[in-house]
Symmetry: C2
């Protein structure tokens, strides 16, 4: 009996989030490792709307494995389906369980989301650290999941004790109440952010992929220095002509200030042509408007 | 006339998010710099509930300056007040404007939240970069704000042209639809995260502050190595006695595996006492249960 327990204990998972030292599983050794996305497990959810909103938040960030433990109003639930809107497919393929133990049975690493860490000795992770940990484990072919509790009471202590670590979001201590779908949203958002150093931003269309950070140049390109210098020469010649760059001892600093404005602007080739036209128009010349001037 | 336009142009703000080189204002020079929180500006919001939910999301992350431009159903709005729940104070002190220009008049730097960057040459920032930029500017005493558009259509291009840069959240390109309160929530979340390297996690109580990442040790402390070694000696002696650590050539690796399990566990002083009791109980001794053994 002692032997059996000890042998069983040898397979027990550590109760902290520190990385395992054991070798990666064979499945995680391929060169292009794609981490399995975490399961989102709603424990005794009360409102169908919140199940639907949580499904939407999941779909927003590429999560699809929704598991429900004893939903209060039974299953399927029309309100969940309606609230999910375009993410109804997540609701349709949700799986339902009688107990938390069966819902997380095949998972290797489980987080418990709580608004407040309970009186337990347990690792606490914010959403960013939690997503990084689950991404890391997923890349080693571990199956992971996050438990979310009923709207009113949150997860009970016995359920939290089934998890490896606690997930708690940073919030203003004075107003810390996050709704169930909001808590799912913040985790999903951080999960997507771990997908790459530059995650896709915003909506893709039939004509165009998602955006990335930085300046976008639709239908144009940044101006070359030669184009800018031609603009500067044009502008400064006109400003000299009308007496704006006066007195002479202030001319250098005024020219620098004007040139720096254009550099800060990050002008495009089209912008330079527009400014050539503006300068020409304001100074009474008509040359250069609407056609390329070099 | 030319001179007046040029002089006005000299005060124009750059249209990119790169940091200004101009000296910080006097107010930002104190040793403890607190960045003014950004204003959240809802442009022509349609549903009162969404105004209330946005106010809740703001309060969750310490944002309180809510500005409304021409809310569809007038103002005040009972539904907004009700939906805000505990964040009704944000709704109550919201300010209302006829135009976007008047709502952002005193701000120095303005972002426009869109689900999809339009056909404009404009810097695009994700919520994390946007929050960092606004924190950085706020610490230099700049006033900042984020524009959010009507639920159905989003911000129009003329309004986006009033902003310095675009804010777009990372989402799954296949299901990119974020609700208005969700978009506010993600920005607010990233804003709070920039407040410190270890932002407060979860709810504070009358007895206890918010949590931080890592293992919490309520009412106990991590075990000392001496306590753990005494446990190991106790356990291994019992395992030797019952023949578990057999054959002898495997004993060293079995002992290491068992000891490593306890180290991974991050055992507390209380945990060690519990295990001393378990070992004693399983091995038929009664000594050591419930009292300190060293």
């Amino acid at each position: 009996m002692v032997k059996a327990r000890a042998a069983s204990g040898r397979r027990a998972r550590p109760k902290t989030a520190e990385p395992k030292r054991s070798p990666a599983k064979a499945g995680a050794r391929s060169s292009a490792v794609v981490a399995a996305a975490p399961a989102i497990i709603l424990v005794k959810p009360q409102l169908g709307e919140n199940i639907g909103f949580a499904a939407r938040a999941m779909a927003n960030f590429g999560l699809t494995d929704l598991r429900l433990v004893a939903p209060r109003d039974g299953w399927p639930n029309d309100k969940a389906h309606a609230a999910a809107a375009g993410a109804a497919f997540v609701v349709d393929q949700a799986t339902v369980y009688d107990s938390v133990e069966s819902a997380i049975g095949e998972l290797n690493f489980v987080l418990a989301s709580t608004a407040r860490p309970r009186e337990m000795v347990k690792t606490v992770l914010g959403p960013e650290s939690a997503a990084a940990e689950l991404r890391h484990r997923g890349e080693r072919a571990e199956r992971t999941g996050v438990l979310f509790g009923p709207e009113r009471s949150g997860l009970d202590n016995d359920t939290i004790a089934l998890a490896d670590a606690i997930l708690t979001a940073p919030v203003s201590p004075g107003f810390a109440s996050l709704s169930l779908p909001q808590a799912v949203l913040l985790f999903g958002y951080e999960w997507l952010k771990t997908e790459s150093a530059a995650p896709p931003l915003g909506r893709a269309t039939a004509f165009d992929g998602p955006a990335t950070e930085g300046i976008a140049f639709p239908d144009t390109r940044p101006a070359t220095r030669a184009e800018l210098l031609a603009l500067f020469n044009h502008l400064e010649a006109e400003l000299d002509r009308c007496g704006f760059l006066y007195p002479a001892e202030k001319r250098p600093s005024m020219v620098r200030a004007i040139r720096n404005m254009f550099h800060r602007m990050g002008a495009t080739e089209q912008d330079v042509r527009t400014w050539r036209g503006i300068v020409a128009a304001l100074s009474g010349h008509r040359a250069g408007r609407g056609k390329k001037v070099s």
